[in-house]
Amino acid sequence: MHTAVIHAALIHAALIHAALIRTAQTDPVQAPGVYEGVANVIAAVMLLLEFGMLRQALVRDQIRLYMGQSALLSVLAVVIAADRNLPDLYALAALSAALKVVAVPLVMRRLLGRTESQEGEDAPGVAGSQTLSPASSVLAGIVLAAVGFFCFGALKIHGPAAPALALSLAGAMVLVSFGLMIVRRDVASQAIGFFSLENAISLAALVVASGLPLILETAFLFDLLVAVVVFGMLIRAHHVRAESLSTADLTRLRG
């Protein structure tokens, strides 16, 4: 606690002095209200789980974090449904929970189970697939999140249901999950990154267009199923051909 504190103190000296004179009786920044607060906190925790996936080394733990993130998305849908009186969202929350908390992780685990070695270790090519150290990848993720966050904030979209901040957090999540797919070299983590990208889009959709007809929302969920099938094929085909899940083996395919 040295030089940085000194600099900041000098910068803030004027502010502090003014505050001292006013004897701290300034008005606090207006709080956004309990409903907005809850929605924003859920969105923020989803973003934190995205960061957790970014720095987590084991695919099994990434799947667990993905399950948590999807569960939070359903909780957010229930919160919005209860507060804004949109009964459709209860059905959507149940459907999305069944699919993303139960089905997708189950399929992923079974796919990975088949590629695991006999000792029960992670599938070959998954361990050490990070191209950046965890601390650096978190710092890079913070930069990405800042870009996404402020770009979406500049759009000034005010959805009817959830607060604008949740939309910006969704924007940050989109970029961080892209980052996750870039910094990892194994197909399984990239699949998880893609699925959580879908979570981020669902979050943005909940915020901007929660009044969307149920049939359309359900159709989006089936898109996810297609993605799962495609990634499942990719994981299996790649494992059969290369006996590894690392995409580093694919670099020599370049022309």
Binding site: M1, H2, A4, V5, A8, A9, H12, L15, I16, A19, L20, R22, T23, A24, T26, D27, P28, V29, A31, P32, G33, V34, E36, G37, V38, N40, V41, A43, A44, L47, L48, F51, R55, P134, A135, V138, L139, G141, I142, A145, A146, F149, F150, G153, P163, A164, L165, S168, L169, A172
Partner: protein, 320 residues
């Protein structure tokens, strides 16, 4: 109807509560930790007996160490005893000396204390003490940005960076508690506190393995009353940081809003109870996580940094 206490006496009580309560909180944590491990554990009063024993012992200084080696523990404890004047320990209203400095002022005093202890460790020429102070300074340099971003969050939330103002803001409505910026900043501060008080996952608090030591290694060469001051100092630092977390960020309730004797006594009891509650959480963390390897501490700090930065981000769009 009870008597109203004079303001200077309440101010003195703030310092005395922290000064005398700090070993108690340390004892409670040690007891809870032992119970969680299935041991009976030391008495809760054990830290007081330890201090009393050390005070009666002979003080020695290594050959070649200057006067600063012996002055450092005194300076450190003085700095720690000044901080309770600046933060809401017992009262919701600011006491006259409470506006001498803001959160950064408290941060200055904490860093002054840690700086003089590190310098005294360098005086000794002992490799372990020097290694400890070198590590402590390295890691405090990387936790510094986290602290700054927490302070920025407070400044954006309240328009000032006085601890009293944030506590008042948090008390004002439920919306202020549930907002992401507040929760993220509090979580980041908690991680910094784990780091600063030398707890798992950064450092084993009661460990005897020199290679894993950071803060603990710095006082190796001190003895007798001076060592007692350093021990007491680290207990004071712990209670001060817990007080900031509880009374400013998490649960600023139970503080005295009047000068009545019963309100102040209740505030003293409430403060110690809150500090012990934070201590219990710390003890559970101590027992459920492994110590990080030294070079993994950056990952821990980067996670805290992430929380603090996100807190500031969410405030910038308003409504965070």
């Amino acid at each position: 109807m009870t008597a109203a206490l004079p303001i200077p006496l309440i101010q003195l009580l703030q310092v005395l509560t922290v000064a005398l309560g700090a070993p108690f909180v340390m004892g409670v944590i040690a007891k809870v930790e032992a119970r969680l491990q299935g041991r009976r554990g030391p008495r809760i009063r054990q830290p007081y007996y330890d201090l009393a024993k050390l005070v009666r012992k002979e003080a020695l200084a290594p050959e070649g160490a200057s006067w600063f080696f012996l002055a450092a523990p005194l300076i450190a404890v003085t700095a720690y005893l000044t901080i309770p004047l600046l933060i809401p320990v017992l009262t919701t209203y600011g006491l006259p000396l409470g506006y001498m400095g803001d959160i950064l002022g408290g941060g200055f005093l904490l860093s002054l204390a840690s700086f003089v202890v590190a310098t005294a460790a360098l005086e000794t020429g002992s490799p372990y003490a020097q290694m400890g102070s070198s590590r402590a300074k390295t890691f405090s340099a990387i936790t510094e940005p986290v602290v700054l971003f927490v302070v920025f969050t407070v400044a954006l939330l309240t328009g000032t960076d006085l601890p009293y103002a944030l506590a008042a803001t948090v008390r004002s409505s439920a919306g202020q508690i549930i907002r992401p910026a507040h929760l993220l900043a509090a979580a980041a501060l908690f991680m910094v506190i784990l780091h600063e008080t030398g707890r798992i996952p950064v450092e084993t608090h009661t460990g005897t393995n020199e290679f894993g030591m950071i803060e603990e290694a710095r006082s190796f060469e001190h003895s007798g009353p001076y060592f007692a001051l350093l021990r007491w100092g680290s207990e004071l630092k712990q209670l001060i940081l817990y007080t900031i977390l509880a009374d400013v960020f998490l649960v600023p309730w139970g503080l005295a809003s009047t000068q009545k004797l019963d309100a102040v006594v209740l505030a003293i009891v409430a403060l110690l109870a809150k500090a012990c509650a934070v201590g219990c959480v710390v003890a559970v963390i101590d027992n459920s996580f492994a110590k990080l390897r030294l070079f993994k501490i950056t990952e821990f700090v980067s996670a805290a940094f992430l929380l603090a930065v996100l807190g500031v981000f969410t405030l910038y769009l308003g409504g965070g």
